[in-house]
C-alpha cells in the first residue's frame, strides 16, 4: 500500500530538486508544478484509502490555485524577459547581503 506514498514522495523530490538545481525560471515553474501534482496524486491516493471524498475536492482546489499562481508567475517571467532578455535566474542577484 505504501508504494503510492513512495511514488508520490519521489515525484515530489524530483520537483524539489528541479527547483534547487535548475537555472531556467520556466523549468523551475514546471518543477513546482511537479511538486504540486505529486501532492495531488497523494491526496487522491489517501482519498481512496480513507474512502473520503474531500481529498479529491482538495485536489481541485490545488489545481485551480496552481493555475492562478502560474499565471502570475508567467507574467512576472515576461517582465524579467523584458528587462534582461533571458529567463535565467543567475542574472537576478541584485538583491543580496
Amino acid at each position: 500500500m505504501s508504494e503510492y506514498l513512495v511514488l508520490c514522495l519521489i515525484l515530489f523530490s524530483l520537483g524539489a530538486f528541479g527547483v534547487l538545481y535548475r537555472r531556467n525560471i520556466l523549468v523551475m515553474f514546471m518543477s513546482i508544478e511537479l511538486m504540486l501534482n505529486a501532492v495531488n496524486l497523494l491526496m487522491v491516493y489517501f482519498s481512496a484509502l480513507h474512502n473520503d471524498q474531500s481529498g479529491q475536492v482538495f485536489v481541485f482546489f490545488i489545481m485551480a490555485v496552481a493555475a492562478a499562481e502560474i499565471t502570475i508567475g508567467l507574467a512576472i517571467l515576461v517582465m524579467i524577459f523584458r528587462h534582461l532578455g533571458s529567463i535565467n535566474i543567475d542574472s537576478l542577484k541584485n538583491l543580496k547581503w
Binding site: L5, C8, F12, G15, A16, V19, I25, M28, I32, M35, L36, A38, V39, L42, M43, Y45, F46, L49, H50, D52, S54, G55, V57, F58, F61, I62, V65, A68, E69, I72, G73, A75, I76, L77, M79, I80, H83, L84, I89, L92, N94, L95, K96
Partner: protein, 458 residues
C-alpha cells in the same frame, strides 16, 4: 465571516471602480467601509463562537486578530495615500489587491479546515507577488517578485505535502477532527512538521527567512510596509491558531523544533541585521528577529502565550509601520535609505526623527514604548513556561538589536546634515496619522491593560 464577505465585495467594487467612473471617490469609500467593517467586527467580539459551514470559525480569537488585521490595512491606506500621487502605480488595482490580500489574512485567522487554510495562504500571497513586482521599471522590484514567487510556491508545495500527509494519517481536513484523530504515527509527525515549516517560511523563521530581506528590500517600500506587518500578523495568527486547534499541548518533538527555530531566528536575524547599512533591509532582518521572539511562546499554548503574542504583534505592527513609513519618506528624497542618509534628520525634520526614534525604541523593546511591554509580557510567559535559557538568548538578541536600531538613531541625532536638500516635505494627512500611531505606541506601552484584557479573552 461577514467581514470577509464585505471586504471581498469592497475589493471587487474597487477593481471595477475605474470603469464605472468612481475612481476619485474610491479612496474615501474604502476608508469609510474599512472603518465600518472594523467597528462591526469589534462589536461582534463577545458573540458566541460559531462555525460557518465547517470552514470558518467565528470566535474571539478570529475577531481580535481580524480586527488587528483590518486596522493594519486601514493604517496602510491612510499612510500610503501619497505614494499614488505620482501616478507611477495604478491606484485602483493596488487597492483591490491589498483588499484581497486582507481577505486572505482574515481567512487565515479563522479557518477550521485545511482547505480554508490553503486558500487563505494563496489569497494572501498571490496579490502580494504582483504588488512586490509592481514597480515594473525597476529590475529589483521584479527580482523581488520572482524570488517571492518561486520560494513562496515552493513553500506552498511543502505545505500541501504536509496537509496531504496529515490527511493520510487522519483521513480528514477538519481541525477538530484532526485533533481527535491525531495519532502517534510518523506520517502525522512528518505532516505536521512540514506544515509547521511552511509556516516558518511565512513568518520568516531562520533558515526559511531568505526571501525576506530580498523581497522586502526590492519591493516598493509601501508594499514592504504591508508585507512586513500584515502578512506577519496573519501568518502568526494562523500558525498559532493551527497549533492551538490541533493540540492541547504541543508534542515534544515539535516543541523542540520550535524552540530551536526561535533561538536560531533570534540570533541569526539580529546578527545579520547588525551589519546592514540600508535601513529598509535592516528592518527586514529585524523583522526576522522579531519573529524569533514571538516564536518563543509557541510551545506553551496557554492563555498567556496567546495574549502575549497578540499584544506583541499589535505593538510590533504599529511601530514597524511607522519605521517603514519614515524610511519611505527618506527614500523619496534621497533615493536610498542608507544609515548615512538619515544623518541630521533630527535637525532638518525633528518630527520625523522623533517618530522614527520612538518606533525604533519600541522595536528595540525599551520603555515606555509598546515594544517593551510586548517583550516583557512575552518573556514572562516564556519564563513561566520554563524556558529561561531561551529568554537569555532573546536578551542577547535584544542587545544586538539595540546596536543596529540605535545606529540609525545616532545617525539622526548626531550626524551633521549630509545633504543640501533636507527632508522637508508636506505631511498633511499622514502627519496626523503618525502622531496618532506614536501616541498609540506610547499608550500601549504605558497602559497595556486594555489590550491585555482583550488578549486574555481570546
Amino acid at each position: 465571516m461577514n467581514a470577509i464577505i464585505l471586504i471581498s465585495i469592497l475589493g471587487i467594487f474597487t477593481m471595477m471602480s475605474e470603469f464605472i467612473g468612481l475612481k476619485k471617490f474610491i479612496y474615501p469609500i474604502i476608508l469609510l467601509s474599512l472603518v465600518g467593517i472594523l467597528g462591526y467586527n469589534i462589536c461582534s467580539f463577545w458573540n458566541t463562537p460559531e462555525v460557518h459551514y465547517g470552514m470558518l470559525l467565528h470566535d474571539n480569537y478570529s475577531v481580535a486578530f481580524g480586527s488587528l488585521l483590518i486596522t493594519i490595512t486601514l493604517l496602510w491606506f491612510l499612510l500610503s495615500r501619497e505614494s499614488y500621487s505620482a501616478g507611477e502605480f495604478n491606484q485602483g488595482d493596488h487597492y483591490a489587491l491589498i483588499l484581497f490580500s486582507t481577505v486572505g489574512g482574515l481567512l487565515l485567522v479563522s479557518f477550521t479546515n485545511m482547505s480554508t487554510l490553503f486558500l487563505g495562504v494563496e489569497i494572501l500571497s498571490i496579490p502580494l507577488y504582483i504588488l512586490a513586482g509592481s514597480r515594473k521599471k525597476d529590475i529589483r522590484s521584479v527580482e523581488a517578485s520572482i524570488k517571492y514567487f518561486i520560494l513562496g510556491s515552493f513553500a506552498t508545495g511543502i505545505m500541501l505535502l504536509g496537509i496531504a500527509l496529515i490527511y493520510g494519517a487522519t483521513g480528514t481536513f477538519d481541525l477538530a477532527a484532526i485533533k481527535i484523530a491525531a495519532s502517534q504515527q510518523s506520517l502525522f509527525y512528518v505532516g505536521i512538521t512540514l506544515l509547521s515549516i511552511s509556516f516558518a517560511f511565512k513568518i520568516s523563521a531562520v533558515p526559511f527567512h531568505f526571501w525576506v530581506p530580498d523581497v522586502y528590500g526590492g519591493a516598493p517600500t509601501f508594499i514592504t510596509a504591508f508585507m512586513s506587518t500584515f502578512v506577519k500578523v496573519a501568518a502568526f495568527g494562523a500558525f498559532y491558531h493551527l497549533l492551538d486547534s490541533i493540540f492541547t499541548q504541543v508534542p515534544s518533538y515539535l516543541s523542540y523544533t520550535l524552540i530551536g527555530l526561535s533561538a536560531l531566528t533570534i540570533l541569526i536575524g539580529n546578527l545579520a541585521a547588525s551589519y546592514q547599512n540600508n535601513v529598509k533591509r535592516l528592518l527586514a532582518f529585524s523583522g526576522v528577529s522579531q519573529a524569533g521572539y514571538m516564536l518563543m511562546v509557541f510551545p506553551m499554548l496557554s492563555v498567556g502565550s496567546k495574549s502575549s503574542l497578540f499584544v506583541y504583534l499589535a505593538g510590533y505592527a504599529v511601530a514597524n509601520l511607522i519605521a517603514i513609513y519614515v524610511v519611505h519618506s527618506i527614500e523619496k528624497l534621497k533615493d536610498e535609505a542608507t544609515v548615512e542618509n538619515f544623518g541630521g534628520l533630527a535637525k532638518s525634520n525633528p518630527f520625523l526623527a522623533f517618530v522614527m526614534t520612538l518606533a525604533l525604541i519600541s522595536l528595540a523593546g525599551i520603555p515606555p514604548a509598546a515594544g517593551f511591554f510586548g517583550k516583557f509580557y512575552l518573556f514572562t510567559e516564556v519564563i513561566k513556561g520554563g524556558n529561561i535559557y531561551l529568554v537569555l538568548i532573546a536578551i542577547l538578541g535584544s542587545l544586538i538589536s539595540v546596536y543596529y536600531y540605535f545606529k540609525t538613531i545616532i545617525a539622526m541625532y548626531s550626524e551633521p546634515e549630509n545633504t543640501s536638500s533636507a527632508v522637508r516635505y508636506e505631511f498633511g494627512f499622514a502627519k496626523i496619522i503618525l502622531v496618532i500611531m506614536s501616541v498609540l505606541v506610547v499608550l500601549i506601552g504605558l497602559f497595556p491593560d486594555i489590550l491585555l484584557q482583550i488578549g486574555k479573552q481570546i
